[in-house]
Amino acid sequence: MAKAPARKTAAPKKTASTPAAASNRETPREPVPYAATPEELEKFYREMLLIRRFEEKAGQLYGLGLIGGFCHLYIGQEAVAVGLQSALDGDKDSVITGYRDHGHMLAYGIDPKVIMAELTGRAAGISKGKGGSMHMFSVEHKFYGGHGIVGAQVALGTGLAFAHKYRGDGGVAMAYFGDGAANQGQVYESFNMAELWKLPIIFVIENNQYAMGTSVNRSSAEDQLYRRGESFRIPGMQVDGMDVLAVRGAAEAALEWVRAGKGPILLELKTYRYRGHSMSDPAKYRSREEVQAVRDKSDAIEHLKKAMIDAGIGEDRIKDIDKEIRAVVAESADFAESAPEPDPSELYTDVLVEQY
């Protein structure tokens, strides 16, 4: 494992699995950090950097009035989506998340142009401009949204898992939700059914420490969120969400468990969002120092960069990737600014599939 120097407590140093209850119940194996090849390190870096630069650009465009409404940026959490989704089988596994969804789509290789064009509300957007930041989908990539109601994606994701099992297609569903959504009732209704029916699902809590302005400690009686599945007999693991290799390693252990037909598993990814909850959140509930300390000490991209250098990838190579990513993002922004708005007739399309 490529160790980062002096990590702050915001991100735990290592993974921890659920302490075995006083029973002989089987537990998933202890995950180990993923041993990535230099090519894989580069791939992770490229994807994480794309998310960060894309989100920074989205923030800019929001400031310019080109993006409206709610816009939730993923900056700081990049290692989570990249590490987890890199372990999935894109041909059969499915992914669903909440409203902070740009990063998960980019991690799946969905064209940044159609994502940015959706943010600017253009016809070329992935939802034809009718969904916006929080409501984006790519059935082709088995990415099922993009859902704006906090926690809804957990029940929906359980349904995706149900469909995998029903069809016997070998797929696994991955349902992301935040530390805030972890307090929604339907999450537990879903846990119950998922374990009862041994559904192939990985529940992923992206614990970025704040549900909008409320910290985990102010909202959660059990603040070790990976333990939230225990009363449903769902094993949990706490993972350093700022280390893409730890994340990938945990994903593999989780997939092993789920693909073996042992039912759901819960991952708590300890991470941090650098920006406010949404673009309109001044984030007064935490100190500038706290944010800066995470950025300085635990940043996932800086951490990965060090691992790359350790693996013998030159700084020039890294700079080239940086340049390349900036160009991709600039191109997506240009596209999103210049693409036309939807035709007014689109107002009435797609309400229903069929004609009655």
């Binding site: 957990v154 569903a173 879903s190 059914m193 229903l352 599939v353 009655y356």
Partner: protein, 456 residues
């Protein structure tokens, strides 16, 4: 003194049943808790226990008797020390085959309509053989037929499988399709509505049963935010073909929280199809259409209609178009528009009105979204008078909507204001007399029709 054993009401809506089997005979000593008989309702076979101690003096209704009204004396028990022999005195055995309707027996919200002058559904060819089925059976057949044809369809809900359905609508489905496709859920409406919507997004075709739509309030977020809006929000990329079905509206004496018509709620949501059938043929034909639809459907049934029998065309694959109203009775003087259980009231009122020289045209909307305003307006053009009968609250109702449609699009055809004939604007009370006063009934329909015809 002999204790009378009366035919028990074994569910809130039971009016009669079959005395399937006596497990005791005259002269047997019984004590509290002994099973005396098996009684079949349209939903289940129930055991009837003794509450008192004594000896069976007389069995007044033999086993195998059908249609025994609730409240009929079926046997007598003589108490301790009494003569166990059958009392010969006729006074002791009035043998009332017809129970004097006890005050506590709920009056059905609507009587069976006389099927007189029913216009044939245009989709049924004349000469088609008909079969008689209950609405309950028709719904079950619709699901079973569609499930046979398409493996993506599954049925999920509370008590749908092993219990055979809380209202027996899913009876037999588990036996035929097995636990993979007929799935009992925990009591977790929000969860399984969301699970169903997710499965639909993932390519399956779920039929989600709510034990009643009152409980779907827990799940309404998924019905509206997840199911109804997905296709639009995704620019037509992601569909959610799902059916949410179950009984809706007032049942009988179950109080305010279990008695509500949600039709106007769901019918206000773009992205949903809302269907609320009246008879067995429509229940079958429209449920099959709903299951086949690529859109999310809210399918509102009515508990009081489940046990009613209707004629149904005996054809293979009977599917009806969604979004088409049906003229149930042709008339020229006033249009009575309704849906679900209200259609029965409208038909009965129409028959009564005919006796007074008023020919009412009765329209069953069948689908509430999209609303077949064309059929309604064409009728209004003919009759120039319209009332809307709805077992539900008046405010922001389907009736309100139709009154607005008439004003916006049929103003010149109106010779009188459109009237709403609905339940009272109160939570449904429990007391029998208050409940009766709160619910829409035939006399109110007749009165409203006369008012708009200036015959009040």
């Amino acid at each position: 003194m002999a204790i009378e054993l009366k035919m028990p009401a074994l569910s809130p809506t039971m009016e009669e049943g079959t005395l399937a089997k006596w497990l005791v005979k005259e002269g047997d000593a019984v004590k509290s808790g002994d099973i005396l008989a098996e009684i079949e309702t349209d939903k289940a076979t129930m055991e009837f226990e003794a509450i008192d101690e004594g000896t069976i003096a007389q069995i007044l209704v033999p086993e195998g008797t059908d249609n025994v009204k609730v409240g009929t004396v079926i046997a007598t028990i003589s108490g301790e020390g009494e003569e166990a022999a059958p009392a010969p005195a006729p006074a002791a055995a009035p043998a009332p085959t017809e129970a004097p309707a006890p005050a506590a027996t709920p009056a059905p919200a609507a009587e069976k309509p006389a099927p007189a002058m029913r216009a044939a559904d245009p989709s049924i060819p004349t000469g088609t053989a008909m079969v008689k089925l209950t609405v309950r059976e028709a719904l079950r057949d619709a699901m079973a037929e569609e499930m046979r044809a398409d493996d993506r369809i599954f049925v999920m809900g509370e008590e749908v499988a092993e219990y055979q359905g809380a209202y027996k609508v899913t009876q037999g489905l588990l036996d035929e399709f097995g636990p993979r496709r007929v799935i009992d859920t925990p009591i977790t409406e929000y969860g399984f509505a969301g699970l169903g919507a997710g499965a639909a997004m993932g390519g399956l075709k779920p039929v989600i049963e709510f034990m009643t739509f009152n409980f779907a309030m827990q799940a309404i977020d998924h019905i509206i935010n997840s199911a109804a809006k997905t296709n639009y929000m995704s620019g037509g990329q992601m569909r959610c073909p799902i059916v949410f079905r179950g009984p809706n509206g007032a049942a009988s004496r179950v109080g305010a929280q279990h008695s509500q018509n949600y039709a106007p709620w769901y019918a206000s949501v773009p992205g949903l199809i809302v269907i609320s059938p009246y008879d067995a043929a429509d229940a079958k034909g429209l449920l099959k259409a709903a299951i086949r639809s690529e859109d999310p459907v809210v399918f509102l049934e009515n508990e009081l209609l489940y046990g009613r029998s209707f004629e149904l065309p005996d054809v293979e694959d009977y599917v009806l178009p969604i979004g088409k109203a049906r003229i149930m009775r042709a008339g020229t003087d006033v249009t009575i528009v309704s849906y679900s259980i209200g259609v029965g009231l409208a038909l009965e009122a129409a028959d009564a009105l005919a006796g007074e020289g008023i020919e009412a045209e009765v329209i069953d909307l069948r689908t509430l979204r999209p609303l077949d305003t064309e059929t309604v307006l064409a009728s209004l053009k003919k009759t120039n008078r319209m009332i809307v009968v709805e077992e539900g609250w008046p405010t922001c109702s389907i009736a309100s909507e139709l009154a607005m449609v008439a004003m916006e699009q049929g103003f010149d055809d109106l010779d009188a204001p459109v009237l709403r004939v609905t339940d009272e604007d109160v939570p449904l009370p429990y007391a029998a007399n208050l409940e009766k006063a709160a619910l829409v009934d035939v006399p109110r329909v007749i009165a409203a029709a006369k008012t708009v015809c200036n015959r009040g």
